[in-house]
Each structure stands twice: as C-alpha cells, then as structure tokens.
Amino acid sequence: MKLSDREQGGIVILEPRGKIMGGPDATLLHDTLYGFIQQGKTRVVIDLGRIEWMNSTGLGILVQSYTTLKNSDGQLKLARVTNKIESLLTITKLVTIFESYDTVEDAVGSFQ
C-alpha cells in the first residue's frame, strides 16, 4: 500500500492506494493518522477509491482510526468506497459504523 495525504478546508484527506493486507500497511496508516492528530487535525476523510481490496487487518485499521479520532473529539468519514469494500463493510456490519460518501467533495462538505 502507498499512502498520500492532502488537506482541504481544514479537513485531512488520506489517499491509500493498492491493497491493505497487513504488515507495514498498518503501521503506515496508523502513524500518519497519529501525526495529524498530534497537530490537532482530527477531521479526516479516507478516500478508498484506489484500494483494490482490504482484509480484516485493513478493516481493523479503519476501526482503530475511527475510535482514535472519536476519542480526540474528531471524526472519520469514508469516500469512494468500492463495491468490494462495501461488501466487506456490509458482511461485518461495519457499514453501520462508518459514514460513506460517493465523492471526496461530498465527504469534505459533510463536515460543514
């Protein structure tokens, strides 16, 4: 997995690419997110549009991110969830936890 990030209107947008399956993926996303939290940036969108697939480790990273941000009075939202990830979120009932938007713009706009 590769990871890039940008900010828009005070919202952090994380853009992982590839597959999230474990190992170094977990550390990279976790450390990047914590870096933003330490800067007081706790409104985050994860753009999943370039993720081919993720396994339970990837879902665990999303859950950890959601909980960490919530505990920091922040919020995590998902954008561009692919059909494969949508099915995993549904199977695991995590679809009841995460707010998802069709576009990054919609996700960013939802914070207003």
């Binding site: 190992g23 697939w53 339970s56 879902l59 665990g60 199977i91």
Partner: protein
C-alpha cells in the same frame, strides 16, 4: 527458512507478514491463469491473506523460521487452496462473534468470519504436527 520458496503448485513463506505480498502475487497470478474473474480473485486473495496471517500469528506463533505453506489446485471449475502451519489448530466456534454489537469496534477477530462469508467451503484440520485450513471457491 529465509525467503519464500515456490515449488510445483505451492508457496512456502517464513512466518512474517512482510511476505504476505509474495503469497498474494503467487495466488492471484495462478487464479488469473485459471481464468477467474477479478471479483472472485479478490475474494480468494482476501481469504488466503486472512488464513496466512492467522497461521503466522497463531499457528506458528510468529517464529520466523517456521514456514507457512499455501497450495492451490483447480478441480472441476473450483479452486481449492490449503494453508498449513505447524500449530495445534483452533476451534472457530471459540471465536467471539465479530458482528455482535459489543464486538463491532474491536480491531481484530474478523478474519475467519470473512473467510467463511466469502468462500464456498472452509475446512479446518488439526493434527499433532500442524493445522491445515482448506478453502474452496467456484471460479467458473
């Protein structure tokens, strides 16, 4: 064991998650050769990764030198994959229900549930010298 070894229809890796991509590349390549569609390839790849992670962490207790072996075969329009470790097995019924409300925000515990949801068959065989999980998925 220091690095992945590929032989016939199997790949063996040391017990470390850095080798997950090696297994993924191997399995996906063979599935594409079988003509499986991308959605099925993803489902199988996800499931194999779950089983390999469990084999590394729980079966082989992350002892790097202890191998995890993955084999793949196609019979009558279905692919069968086995993941073998040196551990003593587990009872999947002992795993907490990951979709129970009280467990939804747990970071772990979804792997076997996902495998059972995505695959047509899942079989777990524990023996004295290791555990083999066999998964089957129709690909045509």
């Amino acid at each position: 064991m220091i690095k992945p070894e590929i032989k016939d229809n199997s790949i063996a890796i040391p017990s470390h998650q850095e080798f997950l991509p090696d297994v993924d590349v191997y399995i996906e390549g063979i599935l594409r050769g079988y003509g499986a569609d991308e959605s099925v390839i993803a489902d199988v790849a996800i499931s194999v990764s779950e089983l390999v992670i469990n084999a590394i962490a729980h079966g082989n207790r992350a002892v790097r030198e202890t191998p995890v072996t993955v084999t793949i075969d196609k019979v009558d329009g279905a692919v069968t994959i086995t993941v073998t470790d040196q551990g003593q097995g587990f009872d999947p019924d002992d795993i907490d229900d990951p979709i129970a409300d009280e467990n939804l925000l747990r970071q772990v515990g979804r792997g076997i549930f996902i495998v059972r949801s995505l695959m047509d068959k899942v079989d777990i065989r524990a023996k004295e010298n290791g555990t083999t999980v066999t998964i089957t998925k129709a690909i045509s």
